[in-house]
C-alpha cells in the first residue's frame, strides 16, 4: 500500500462508500446497535469516533518506525485509549448530560473494531497526514451510516428528531425501534438496500 502512495481523494471515497467500515467491512456493529436510538447521542458518539480514528491514526503513523512488530497491538491500544480518555474528559466537561446518557459507550470506543482496524491496515504503512485523512474518512463513513440509522430509529421509535417532536399526535411510537432489535432491523435493511445498489452498479459497469 505504501508503495502505491494512496491519494487523499481515493482515501475518502473508500472510507465513505466503497470500503465503508459499516456497510462493506461490517465493523463497529456493537456501537451501531447500542447508541442509535436517540439522534443526539449518536451525533456525539460519531464525533468521538472521528476524533479518535483521525488522531490515533496520525500518532501511530508518526510512531510506526519505532514500534516493534511483536508488541504493536498493545502500543496501538495504548495510543487509542489515550485519545479516547482525552475525548471522554472533553465531553464530561462540556456536555455532562450526554456524557451520562452514553455512559460506558464512550470508553468502549477503544474497543471499536474500526479504530484498531484502520491503525493496523493503514496507519502502520502510511505517512502521518494521509493516515489522519484515512482515519477521518472512516470515522465519517461510520458516522453517516450511524446517523441514518439513528434518524430512522428516533423518528419511528419516538416520533421526534433531536428531541423535537416532528410527528403529530396521530403518531404511535414503534417501541421496537427504541430497543436493540430495532437497531438490527434498520441497519440490516440499510445494508441490504445499499449493497444491492452497489452490486447492481458493479454489474452495470462490466
Amino acid at each position: 500500500m505504501s508503495a502505491a502512495r494512496p491519494k487523499a481523494g481515493r482515501v475518502f471515497a473508500d472510507g465513505l462508500l466503497r470500503n465503508n467500515p459499516v456497510f462493506v467491512q461490517v465493523l463497529g456493529i456493537c456501537s451501531t446497535l447500542a447508541v442509535t436510538n436517540v439522534f443526539e447521542n449518536t451525533l456525539v458518539m460519531c464525533i468521538g469516533l472521528v476524533f479518535t480514528t483521525g488522531l490515533s491514526n496520525f500518532s501511530l503513523s508518526l510512531l510506526r518506525s519505532m514500534i516493534p512488530g511483536r508488541i504493536r497491538m498493545i502500543v496501538e491500544t495504548l495510543v487509542i485509549a489515550s485519545w479516547v480518555i482525552v475525548f471522554d474528559i472533553i465531553i464530561k466537561a462540556t456536555l455532562p448530560e450526554i456524557s451520562k446518557a452514553l455512559g460506558a459507550y464512550v470508553g468502549l470506543i477503544i474497543t471499536n473494531c474500526i479504530v484498531m482496524g484502520r491503525a493496523e491496515a493503514f496507519a502502520l504503512a502510511n505517512k502521518p497526514l494521509i493516515s489522519m485523512a484515512d482515519g477521518i474518512a472512516n470515522g465519517l463513513g461510520y458516522s453517516w451510516v450511524l446517523l441514518a440509522v439513528a434518524f430512522v430509529r428516533e423518528l419511528l421509535g419516538s416520533g421526534s428528531i433531536l428531541g423535537a417532536r416532528v410527528l403529530g399526535e396521530w403518531w404511535t411510537n414503534w417501541n421496537i425501534m427504541v430497543m436493540a432489535p430495532g437497531g438490527f432491523f434498520v441497519l440490516a435493511i440499510l445494508i441490504w438496500i445499499v449493497r444491492g445498489r452497489m452490486e447492481r452498479n458493479k454489474e452495470g459497469a462490466r
Binding site: T172, W174, N175, I176, M177, M179, P181, F185, A188, I189, W192, G196
Partner: protein, 350 residues
C-alpha cells in the same frame, strides 16, 4: 404459469415420480382451508375482523408486487404465497370491536413479513423463519398495547369481554400469589376461565385465526388428508404441549398446593394459538426439517418452549416465539438426521 428456478433443473435418470402438487395450488388450498376460521371470527366478533384481514392481505400482496418489481425478480404474486402470508398475519391479529385495532398494525406486520422475512433472504422458499410469525412478533414488540389489549366481546354471543383465556390463567395465579381472594376477580371485571366447550367453538377472546379450535382442526385435517401438511408435526406438537402442561401446569395453578401432574392439558391445547400454530405455522415446508425424525424433534421443541413460555414467561402466549425459535434451529436439527448412504457400511454421510 410462473417460472421457478427448479424448472430449469433437468432430471435425467428414470423412474420419475410425478405429482400434481404445485406451489400455487398448495397456497390457494391452504388459504381456502383458513377461511372458515376467519369467517367464524367475523361472525362472532363483528366485521372489523374482516377489515383487518383485508388490510393484511392487501398489504402483503402489494409488498410482494413492489419488491419483485424493484428487485427484478420473477413475478410471484399469482402463486398465492403472499396472499397466504397476509391471511396468516391476519390470523395473528387480535380480534377486536369496530375500529379498536389500528389498521397500521396488520399492514406493517404484512410488509415486514414479505419484505424482511421473505424477500431479504431470497424470496419464496428461502425464508429462514415463518414470515407471518416474524410479522406478528415485530408488531407485537412495536405496539404491545394494541396487540394485547382491546380483546372484543361478541355482539353475537355472550362472550367474556376481558382477557383472553391464557391471560386469565396467568392473572389468576398472579393474583393468588398476591393474596387476593377469588371473589375480588369479579370486582375487577374478570370472570373465571371459560369452559372447554367455549374454547373449542371459539367463543372466547383471542386472535382472529386462533379462537376456534374446531374450525382450525377441520382445516388442518383437510390439509393432512390432501398430504399438503404432514401429520407428525401437528400431532407431536399438540401432544407434547398437552403432556408438559399436564405435568407442570399444576405448579402455577391456584387454590391448591403446587404439585406435578395436575395441570389442565385440554385447556392449554384448546386455548391460545396452538391449533393455528401446530397446523398452519409449524408445518411450513420451508422452515421445518425434511426428515421424519427431525420433524419430531422440531415439534417436541415447539411443545416444550410453548409450555415453558406460557407457564413461566412474562408473555401469556408462547406459540409464536416457540415456532420461530425452533425455525432457527432447523439447520442444526437436520444435521442429526443425515440419511445413511446406500452401499456404505458406516452410517456417517460424508
Amino acid at each position: 404459469m410462473i417460472k421457478y428456478a427448479s424448472d430449469d433443473l433437468v432430471v435425467s435418470a428414470a423412474p420419475h415420480v410425478r405429482t400434481r402438487l404445485r406451489v400455487p395450488l398448495v397456497m390457494w388450498v391452504v388459504s381456502a382451508t383458513l377461511l372458515p376460521a376467519i369467517a367464524w371470527a367475523g361472525y362472532v366478533f363483528g366485521p372489523w375482523v374482516l377489515v383487518v384481514t383485508a388490510a393484511a392481505v392487501l398489504a402483503a400482496v402489494v409488498t410482494e408486487l413492489a419488491i419483485t418489481l424493484l428487485l427484478r425478480r420473477p413475478q410471484t404474486v399469482s402463486d398465492g404465497s403472499a396472499f397466504l402470508t397476509g391471511l396468516l398475519v391476519a390470523c395473528n391479529m387480535p380480534a377486536t370491536g369496530w375500529g379498536v385495532l389500528p389498521l397500521y398494525v396488520p399492514v406493517v406486520a404484512s410488509i415486514f413479513a414479505i419484505a424482511v422475512a421473505k424477500h431479504a433472504f431470497g424470496g419464496l422458499g428461502q425464508n429462514w423463519i415463518n414470515p407471518a410469525l416474524a410479522g406478528r412478533i415485530f408488531v407485537f414488540f412495536a405496539w404491545l398495547p394494541a396487540m394485547t389489549g382491546g380483546w372484543a366481546g361478541s355482539p353475537a354471543f355472550d362472550v367474556v369481554s376481558s382477557a383472553t383465556p391464557l391471560n386469565l390463567l396467568k392473572f389468576q395465579s398472579g393474583m393468588m400469589q398476591d393474596g387476593l381472594q377469588a371473589g375480588s376477580q369479579a370486582v375487577l371485571g374478570m370472570r373465571l376461565a371459560p369452559s372447554h366447550g367455549d374454547l373449542f367453538l371459539g367463543l372466547t377472546p383471542g386472535c382472529i385465526g386462533e379462537i376456534s379450535a374446531a374450525a382450525l382442526l377441520l382445516g388442518g385435517l383437510i390439509l393432512i388428508l390432501l398430504r399438503i401438511v404432514n401429520w407428525e408435526i401437528p400431532l407431536t406438537y399438540i401432544a407434547s404441549t398437552a403432556l408438559f402442561s399436564w405435568i407442570f401446569g399444576g405448579l402455577a395453578m391456584t387454590g391448591q398446593a403446587p404439585s406435578f401432574f395436575t395441570g389442565d392439558p385440554l385447556y392449554h391445547v384448546l386455548s391460545g394459538g396452538l391449533m393455528l400454530g401446530a397446523f398452519y405455522m409449524a408445518t411450513d415446508w420451508v422452515t421445518t426439517p425434511v426428515s421424519f425424525g427431525g420433524r419430531i424433534v422440531f415439534a417436541l421443541g415447539c411443545g416444550i418452549l410453548t409450555v415453558l413460555i406460557r407457564l413461566t414467561g412474562s408473555n401469556v402466549e408462547g406459540v409464536s416465539f416457540a415456532i420461530v425459535l425452533m425455525n432457527i434451529t432447523v439447520p442444526l436439527i437436520e444435521r442429526m438426521f443425515v440419511p445413511r448412504r446406500f452401499g456404505t457400511s458406516e452410517g456417517r454421510a460424508a
